[in-house]
């Protein structure tokens, strides 16, 4: 397996709350890893560790290591803004910043200091095409992002992340707040995207995990109970707890 | 590196208010305390004669302390019931359209310059008081009534916040027990909001105690200790405001000494108010 990200005995705590407990896990390059489990099991903590957003909590502590392309993301030479541009994140709630569609999509690039209008134009178009939003908004790029529907805003959020040409996409329940049609659009998009990106997604259902994941990890109480490639976790789980959860007997 | 210097600059600006408070405290005390030390604290506070230009001069500020107390408590008699009633009205009774009108109106009440209020007291209320109740008109009563209105916005804003902050569940619990609306207000809302309301009253008190120019215009500025609300008086603030214009030497020092006393009173009130507001610094509207 070609490994993009590697968790190595990684433990994360907010104050006294242990969010992730001794996680050791590979994330394969140009594939989709689905991280699922009950609420509070540490899925968001897992994602937010990869781009070091977890450190925004004042009482965050961690042990162990996470490596991207073999290099520790905690190495002193790592610049946080750059790490977050390499591993861009999309949240469960669609967020259109109060600015135009164009400014939303080009936001990350402008933060990085990109001022060249043609470069920005090209990046905006490419990102919007990739997130399948281009045809819907190409005539009104100057209108406010807040005017878009929820599903469109979420694809806008994805476009905003894609515009950075990241290596990794971190998607924290990106379809949790969406209707089935928007959800299907985004799932289709993921299949196309994984040719170029490493994707870690928290699916909003077990079905979605099975549909989009090239590999899956089941989290419970901050621990990775089981990790498996393909549909293994859903077809033939090895751990009793995984089996209970995927068959809906979890309680 | 840029981030670090920005963070440092912001830290410096954050100290602005604290530094200002420190400077104010230091310079007021430095200018006023020597005279208090010379006269003696007790003589200064309890002396009933203020004659700073006589030989020998007399520096007793009891008349001003008494005047300030009269005026402050008088204004509370007007301002507290009215302010509480308006706050209850705005949260509980006002139809939506009227609530929409009330809010900017109260804000305007707070925005009108105090000299305008003083002027209304001087030209409108004082003659009425003189004609109906007797006395010179320019009096504690005139000042207290107008000041009562001047502190309304403070009392209303903070009480309103406090009443609004009562959790819906608390209110619904009382309604479920079959209480009438008025019983909910008196039995649940006001007691639950009590500390906020008290904080509002204390801050209103601070405003009344600190008001200067309007008081000068309304109170008659007599150095005799008032024994009736219809008599003129002078206050800590009005005396400073009036005499600073021409005072020099020891006289000026005595005015700063009066400022020290006022400052200490106000700080005590502020400290009291903060202890009554559970979360200082949040959601208190600036009046």
């Amino acid at each position: 397996m070609d490994i993009k990200i590697e968790f190595d005995h990684y433990t994360l705590a907010y104050g006294r709350d242990v969010v992730l407990n001794d996680i050791t896990l590979p994330v394969a390059r140009n594939a989709v890893l689905a991280v699922f489990g009950p609420a509070g099991s540490g899925k968001s903590g897992f994602l937010r560790s990869i781009n070091r957003m977890a450190e925004l909590e004042s009482n965050e502590r961690h042990q162990g290591d996470i490596r991207m392309d073999g290099v520790s993301i905690f190495a002193p030479a790592v610049r946080l803004p750059e790490l977050r541009r390499r591993a861009a994140m999309v949240f469960a709630q669609p967020v259109a910043l109060p600015m135009s569609i164009y400014d939303n999509v080009s936001y990350g690039l402008r933060l990085a200091g990109q001022r060249d209008r043609r470069t920005l134009d090209a990046a905006v178009e490419r990102a919007l095409r990739a997130s399948t939003l281009w045809d819907e908004v190409k005539d009104r790029l100057d209108s406010p992002g807040l005017n878009l529907s929820g599903g469109q805003q979420q694809r806008l959020s994805i476009a905003r992340a894609l515009a950075l040409e990241p290596e990794v996409l971190l998607l924290d329940a990106p379809t949790a707040a969406l209707d089935p049609i928007s959800t299907a659009k985004i799932e289709d998009m993921l299949i196309d995207l994984k040719a170029n990106y490493t994707i870690v997604i928290v699916p909003h259902s077990i079905q979605q995990a099975a549909r989009v994941g090239d590999a899956a990890a089941f989290f419970l109480n901050g621990m990775c109970v089981e990790y498996g490639a393909g549909n293994q976790l859903f077809v033939s789980p090895r751990d009793k707890r995984t089996e209970d959860y995927v068959t809906g007997r979890f309680g | 590196m840029k981030e670090r210097s920005i963070s440092f600059i912001l830290l410096i600006t954050a100290f602005g208010a604290l530094v200002a408070l420190g400077l104010i405290t230091y310079f007021i005390f430095q200018a006023g305390v020597p005279l208090i030390a010379k006269v003696g604290l007790w003589q200064f506070l309890a002396g009933s004669t203020w004659n700073p230009t006589a030989k020998p001069p007399a520096f007793g500020i009891l008349p001003m302390i008494v005047g300030s107390l009269w005026l402050t408590f008088g204004s509370l008699v007007i301002g507290v019931p009215l302010g509480l009633a308006v706050a209850i009205f705005m949260v509980e009774l006002a139809p939506a359209w009227l609530a929409v009108v009330m809010r900017p109106a109260i804000q305007l009440l707070a925005g009108i310059p105090s000299v305008i209020y003083g002027f209304i007291g001087l030209t409108l209320l004082a003659p009425v008081i003189r004609a109906t109740l007797g006395g010179p008109g320019l009096s504690v009563l005139t000042g207290a009534i107008i000041l009562g209105f001047m502190i309304l916005p403070t009392i209303i804003a903070i009480s309103e916040d406090a009443i609004r902050a009562v959790p819906i569940a608390v209110r619904e619990g009382a309604v479920a027990l079959g209480s009438s609306h008025w019983q909910v207000i008196t039995g649940v809302l006001l007691p639950t909001a009590r500390s906020g309301i008290i904080a509002g009253i204390i801050l209103g008190m601070g405003r009344a105690l600190g008001e200067t120019m309007a008081v000068i215009m309304m109170i008659g500025n007599s150095l005799a200790i008032p024994v009736s609300p219809l008599q003129p008086a002078t206050t800590l603030t009005s005396n400073i405001g009036l005499e600073m214009a021409y005072a020099s030497g020891q006289h000026r020092e005595a005015l700063f000494a009066t400022g020290v006393v006022l400052f200490v009173f106000i700080m005590i009130l502020n400290a009291l108010a903060t202890t009554f507001v559970r979360r200082p610094g949040t959601s208190r509207r600036s009046a």
Binding site: R84, M89, L97, P98, G108, R110, L111, R160, A161 | E3, I6, S7, L10, L11, T13, A14, F15, G16, A17, L18, L21, L23, I24, F27, I28, A31, P81, F89, L93, L98, P104, Q107, L108, L109, G111, I112, P113, S114, V115, I116, G118, F119, I120, S180, H181, W182, L209, T212, M213, M244, G259, L262, F263, I266, M267, N270, T274, P280, G281, S286
Partner: protein
Amino acid sequence: MTTARTQRFAFGCIWLAAVFTLAVLALVVGLIMVRGLPSLSIGFLTGTPENLGRDGGIFPTIVGTIVLGLVSLLIATPLGIGSAIYLTEYTHESLLTRAIRFGTESLAGVPSIIFGLFGFIFFVTYLQMGWSILAGGLTLALMVLPTIIRTTEEAIRTVPQSYRNVSYSLGATRWQMVTTAVLPSALPGIITGIILAFGRAVSETAAVIFTAGTALNLPKSVFSPVRTMAVHFYILAVEGISLEKAYATGAVLIVTVLIINVIASSLITRLVRKQVRR
């Protein structure tokens, strides 16, 4: 049915109190306007005062008011916004923030006459600025600082946390996050605070009269003394110079305060809409 009767009586009283309060406000505003408007004219606004203000206009006091207000905002706005940003975005609650908050709260409660005394002894005398726009502006700046800090803090706190998360997740530094995600959304609230602070500066008398002076000339520099409208109004009324001119000046003051209040309360909606359109 005594509870029903009690309630009806109590609610009657409360309605009365509310109507009474509005009536008093209307009376104050109405009286000054009715008595002041007749003597208002362009000449009054643009003319220079003569005979201590008994005749002529109030032009220098209008200039004095605006200049003093602007100077105070020029000083207080960066300080206040910086302070609010630090408290909300750069630090967690600690002993330090509690001390800073205590300073802000206390400063807000300091009466204006104390500011006047302080400004006189510190800026006018100790720093030898004399009665001047600079001394008055600095004094006023300290006075309105808490207003700006508080309104900015409140405006910043209403910005959705998700904006900050999005900004950080796309590689923003803290300062970039503040300037691109927080401040634009908080702007209407911040501007409202600045306008309210200007209103306080316009209304102020006690802190101004001992620091900026009472000179009736047009100022030549920031070291010139000025007289503001509020101070002029006070002097006209208290020294019995001219009741007619006092009413007219009062009317201008009230109109100014009205305009400031209307702008402050309408600005929020207007700016929010504009922000969406951009």
